[in-house]
Subunit: 194 residues, 2 copies
Amino acid sequence: MGQKAQAIRQRIVAAADQLFYQRGYEHTSFSDIADAVGISRGNFYYHFKTKDEILNAVIDIRVDQIQRMLDAWTYEYSDPQQRILLFIDILTNNQESIKSHGCPIGSLCTELAKLSHEMLQEANVMLAVMRDWLTDQFRALGMGADARKIAMHLLARTQGIATITNAFEDQQFLRQEVKRLRQWLDEMIAQYAN
Amino acid sequence: MGQKAQAIRQRIVAAADQLFYQRGYEHTSFSDIADAVGISRGNFYYHFKTKDEILNAVIDIRVDQIQRMLDAWTYEYSDPQQRILLFIDILTNNQESIKSHGCPIGSLCTELAKLSHEMLQEANVMLAVMRDWLTDQFRALGMGADARKIAMHLLARTQGIATITNAFEDQQFLRQEVKRLRQWLDEMIAQYAN
DNA sequence: GTCTATATACGGATAGAC
DNA sequence: GTCTATCCGTATATAGAC
């Protein structure tokens, strides 16, 4: 595959990534993606044979982006609490899009579950990557055997906040829950510091 | 409309209710519903003109069922804490279906948001009814001006638990989070009892 | 009220010219 | 590599016989 094809392939995946988030996977058609990229539907199939193949590529880049982000935070900050706060701040930093479209990860998993789509297994890797990174942080804070459960708990909290913010289209709720999460984190750390 | 038509209408709504939950709204076709009820597609349109009309009817009965359930709990139990525990136990009592299909309310709101569907406004009434009932319970527990925020918090927690349980297909996580919720409730009550 | 047959649109996917 | 034209399945929705 040539360089030009690679570049277009990337543009297709980027467009699909955005559209799957905004409109959902099933509700996004090949035409939608082709229009967004500026190529014809026919040409489309030169790059991707099936819709599932695009979904697979979208999940792959998302997993990659999440991993890069977490790696960067690990590199830039040494304090686990600080790192977890950065994770919580994802909510605040994306409150407008969460209000309109929910969590890109959670809503995709929810949709794939409804479709009984095999790629749900691939999609929840996005969550697993965050879970594992968070587990590392909580373990570093002395939470030992509980670290993984606490990481899962935080993951679920963020999903719930995204779902409700989206359903009620209420950013105020998101901000209020972020405060509660920060408070919870302080309490957890204090608790395990004993 | 005759009695027979009414009965069939109810059977259609019941079938749609279940299918929308299991497969999602958009992914459920008229044929799916007609097959489930045991009538032809053509006959279908005698009862409902559009798919949105069915969605509307499904939301209406869901709101009604939720309201009845909460009214019954209010009538049968006088202790607000006991009532809230019954609400939390919805998760435990439905863990198999939540594992497979998530929360019927949250996942519908998530889908309608993606579709930019006007009926999201109707759908989040299901959440609002629960929010208001929970607010009453927390107020009765002395949480005053915070009651509504705490109710929203609990609502979000349940949504997050459902999303993660569904994404990872992990009932064990649900049970573990229910324990955490019960513990949280105890702590909240103790905190406001001072 | 219920059925079969059908109109119409759109989706994913392919063929083949250029 | 990119396009136009097209196949085919399925979806919503309608018409009209019974």
